[in-house]
């Protein structure tokens, strides 16, 4: 170490800026490829960030964010005095955990299965079909679900009845909805996540597979000892990304599936739907921004915590 420093000093003087320019020149293609993402996040995530100040103001349209009177934490209070916060937090977090865990397991499983299939056309067609629900809007999804499950005329209800069974009144049964919502979310998201994992699998060094084959590993063993361990970094990174949004619910999905049916709220009310119900008539930017800021700040600390945890166990896989 010491030696290196000395050596460096004795070399012809290369200033920091010169080195920087040289590095930029060397990696210009890589940098260029990063540029769209950098611009995207700068414009849509960093530039609006100072605007979060709106959460601390009594926002006036004609005075703008910076000219509106400062009111401190006033806008955060309504969420806390509602008496609903613990239920909302519980539902929001549990649903997101279920989405993350169940979603990733299923996506991984499908990606591995697709990888084992040798018929390329079959893989392509399956992938496309699985991807399709991702593009269906939540409004349509809710209509589909209603037409399948509604008690009087639903497709499933008719099926159950014609088979001599008794159809439960699902739209009056809060207990059924965690299952339904997780299933719907799986149906929508599996195709998308599978593609990510499938791509990661394709990136695994084939020589390892061949070596394992020569050593006599069967298909199951190859998955267990090569594919899964190689996917671990991807899983961890995706998990860390997902966990930052653990306090943010998918409003479109929940609102469309449940609507104003308060018989289901016990198991389906998340922060977003509550905020909508409370503020649908008051259109209060500042208060809704306060809720968003609260979710983001908590999410930020959860990511930091999770990352620290990962760093302890497996330092190479941490984000930073």
């Amino acid at each position: 170490m010491e030696k290196e420093k000395v050596l460096n000093r004795s070399l012809p003087r290369v200033t920091g800026t010169q080195r920087f320019i040289r590095n930029v020149k060397q990696s210009r293609i890589l940098l260029l490829m990063c540029l769209p993402a950098v611009i995207f996040f700068f414009v849509f995530s960093y530039m609006p960030m100072p605007g979060a100040y709106i959460a601390f103001t009594n926002f006036q349209y004609n005075k703008g964010i910076w000219g509106s009177p400062f009111v401190g934490l006033q806008n955060f209070r309504f969420l806390f005095i509602s008496g609903q916060l613990s239920l909302l937090l519980k539902n929001t977090v549990l649903y997101n955990l279920a989405f993350i865990v169940v979603g990733n397991v299923v996506q991984l499983a499908f990606a591995i299965m697709l990888n084992e299939v040798r018929n390329r056309y079959f893989v392509k067609v399956t992938q496309s079909l699985m991807f399709l629900p991702y593009f269906i809007s939540d409004v349509l999804v809710s209509l589909l679900v209603y037409n399948l499950l509604n008690y009087d005329y639903g497709f499933v209800s008719n099926l159950v009845r014609s088979a001599g069974g008794v159809m439960p009144k699902l739209y009056q049964n809060a207990g059924a909805w965690p299952v339904i919502i997780v299933l719907v979310n799986l149906w929508k998201g599996t195709g998308y996540g599978t593609v990510v994992y499938f791509a990661a699998i394709t990136g695994i060094d084939t020589s390892m597979m061949e070596a394992a084959q020569i050593d006599g590993a069967n298909g199951w063993q190859r998955i267990r000892y090569i594919t899964l361990p190689c996917l671990k970094p991807t899983v961890v990174i995706l998990f860390l990304f997902a966990i930052g949004g653990i306090l943010k619910g998918n409003f479109g999905l929940f609102y469309n599936l449940v609507g104003n049916n308060s018989m289901l709220f016990g198991t389906t009310d998340i922060i977003e739907t509550y905020v909508y119900r409370a503020m649908m008539n008051s259109f209060n930017f500042a208060q809704s921004s306060a809720v968003g800021l609260f979710q983001s700040v908590v999410g930020f600390f959860i990511v930091l915590g999770a990352n620290a945890l990962v760093k302890r166990i497996e330092p190479d896989m941490a984000l930073f």
Binding site: Y171, N260, S262, M280, S282, Q287
Partner: protein, 504 residues
């Protein structure tokens, strides 16, 4: 390279200056913000004709910015909140659009008397002083009211007169009791018809249904623009005392019980709270027997039903009929405001003044090209050509912020004899909306109002559609939740502000 850069810069500067140079004689564009789906009929053609006249008369032309019905409340308020000189005229309302909250948040421009007198002289002269009073906030005028147009938007139920007669209601449906009998008859005798196939998804029926029962069984009067529909005045004789109907009235329990019995009887779907359907379309197909909406809707729908189901004789049971409890429409149910960031408020007022008062322009906008899109019959009513389809052949401006009976025309296809009969009853019974000067300032209680909004939207849909085991217990639970959310504090504040405006 340098030359190229210099050239580019020069071109850009010229391009930037061009509009300024060119605009010297160009007409000013006035953008009109309005709710409604972008029309696909001949609106643009009619707009061009209107603009020709506007340019000639005041050197301005109109451009329409539509807020489509999908998520309209949000998008409408967002357009006002994020304005940057891109809107001028804003169609608004104090009940169904947030005119006052937007005024309080600085979305609209205060209109001085001098401005109105100079740039909207006809409008200024036509609106009486006490009407202007109702458009003031902190002593300044912000809204131009639609006060020269008679309409009734009080809610009720549309029902088929032919089926009511079969049910033994020869006179039609005139009370909630009658309505119950009518729905029961349909359920019993029309196996393919859902008596009222309500689209209960969303919370739109809470206020109408519950308030409907309330005005039919008490003298209570609805106070609009509060954000949560829990606040009513006691009666026409005592309007400035708040009613405690939602906290302690037995009538509300009766309502919950009746709706429970209707739900159990199957007058609507089991899963009504998640159903999104088109009641009007179903009614025209003959698969449902009732539709809940307001009088104005009924006047047009009666004709549509007569065409779709000949002999259906669509009747209207208006909420409050049993008690004769009906209130005239507030004059700011429709109103025009000027956006606070408007660069040409004077021109905007001139355009509004013409569209509201100039017979030629007004009729062009409201009914289309004369001779081609309509002719006048012997009564002076508008007759449309054979095979008329408004959505294809007509023009749509959704001008609900300055209609004018003085230069307006009636549609020949409406059943004016029946309609006028109902209007006569209204005119006889109605009291003037008593809260026209009351603009609620929610600052002190906004937190509690938001939590009340949540409680209201959680409990009311289930009460309204009878989706409860024990209505009495559920109402008690609801009342406890309202108390917990701070309804007492809010009512105290409203009462205080009411007293301040209408000091006894």
């Amino acid at each position: 390279m340098k030359k190229l850069v210099a050239l580019l810069l020069a071109v850009m500067m010229i391009a930037a200056l061009l509009p300024i140079v060119a605009s010297a004689d160009e007409p000013v564009t006035i953008t009109y913000l309005v709710t409604g789906d972008i029309p696909t009929n001949r609106t643009d053609e009619v707009l061009a004709m209107i603009n020709e006249k506007l340019i000639e008369k005041v050197g301005a032309k109109l451009e329409i910015r539509w807020i489509e019905w999908t998520d309209w409340t949000t998008n409408y308020n967002l357009a006002i909140a994020t304005q940057s000189g891109d809107i001028d005229l804003v169609g608004t309302a104090t009940d169904w659009l947030d005119a006052w909250p937007n005024t309080q948040k600085g979305g609209f421009l205060p209109l001085s008397e001098e401005m109105l007198k100079e740039y909207a002289p006809l409008t200024w002269a036509a609106i009486p002083a006490d009407h202007w009073e109702k458009c003031k906030f902190n002593g300044e005028i912000y809204l131009i009211p639609e006060d020269q147009y008679a309409q009734w938007t009080n809610h009720g139920f549309m029902y088929r007169g032919d089926w009511a007669a079969e049910a033994g209601l020869a006179d039609g449906v005139h009370s909630w009791d009658d309505l119950g009998k009518y729905l029961a008859y349909v359920k019993e005798n029309k196996p393919d018809v859902i008596p009222w196939d309500a689209d209960g998804n969303g919370s739109s029926y809470s206020q109408q249904m519950s308030g409907g029962w309330q005005t039919s069984h008490t003298g209570n009067i609805y106070i609009e623009g509060m954000g949560v529909d829990l606040f009513y005045g006691e009666s026409a004789e005592n309007p400035y005392t708040l009613s405690t109907y939602y906290l302690d009235s037995d009538e509300f329990v009766n309502f919950a019980k009746t709706m429970k019995s209707w739900a159990d009887a199957g007058y609507w779907r089991t899963d009504v709270l998640n159903y999104t359907g088109d009641v009007a379309a179903e009614m025209k197909e003959g698969t449902t027997a009732a539709r809940q909406h307001h009088t104005e809707t009924w006047t047009g729908f009666r004709t549509e039903m007569e065409n779709a189901q000949p002999g259906s004789d669509l009747g209207f049971f208006w909420f409050g009929e049993e008690m004769g409890n009906v209130v005239t429409l507030n004059i700011t149910h429709g109103a025009m405001a000027i956006a606070s960031s408007s660069k040409n408020p004077e021109k905007a007022l001139q355009v509004y003044d013409l569209l509201r008062n100039d017979p030629e322009l007004y009729q062009l906008m409201m009914y289309g090209i004369p001779g081609e899109m309509y002719t006048l019959d012997d009564n002076g009513y508008i007759a449309r050509p054979e095979g008329w389809d408004e959505a294809v052949m007509g023009c749509t401006f959704n001008w609900w912020w300055g209609r004018n009976d003085g230069i307006g025309l009636r549609a020949a296809d409406r059943d004016w004899e029946t309609i006028d009969k109902l209007y006569a009853v209204y005119n006889e019974k109605a009291v003037t909306y008593p809260y026209g000067q009351f603009i609620f300032d929610r600052t002190n209680v906004s937190m509690y109002l938001d939590n009340l909004s949540n409680v209201y939207n959680t409990y009311m849909p289930r009460i309204v559609f009878g989706m409860v085991e024990d209505p009495e217990a559920y109402v008690a639970e609801y009342r406890a939740a309202l108390k917990a959310a701070g309804i007492d504090l809010v009512m105290e504040e409203i009462q205080r502000q009411l007293d301040a405006v209408y000091a006894k």
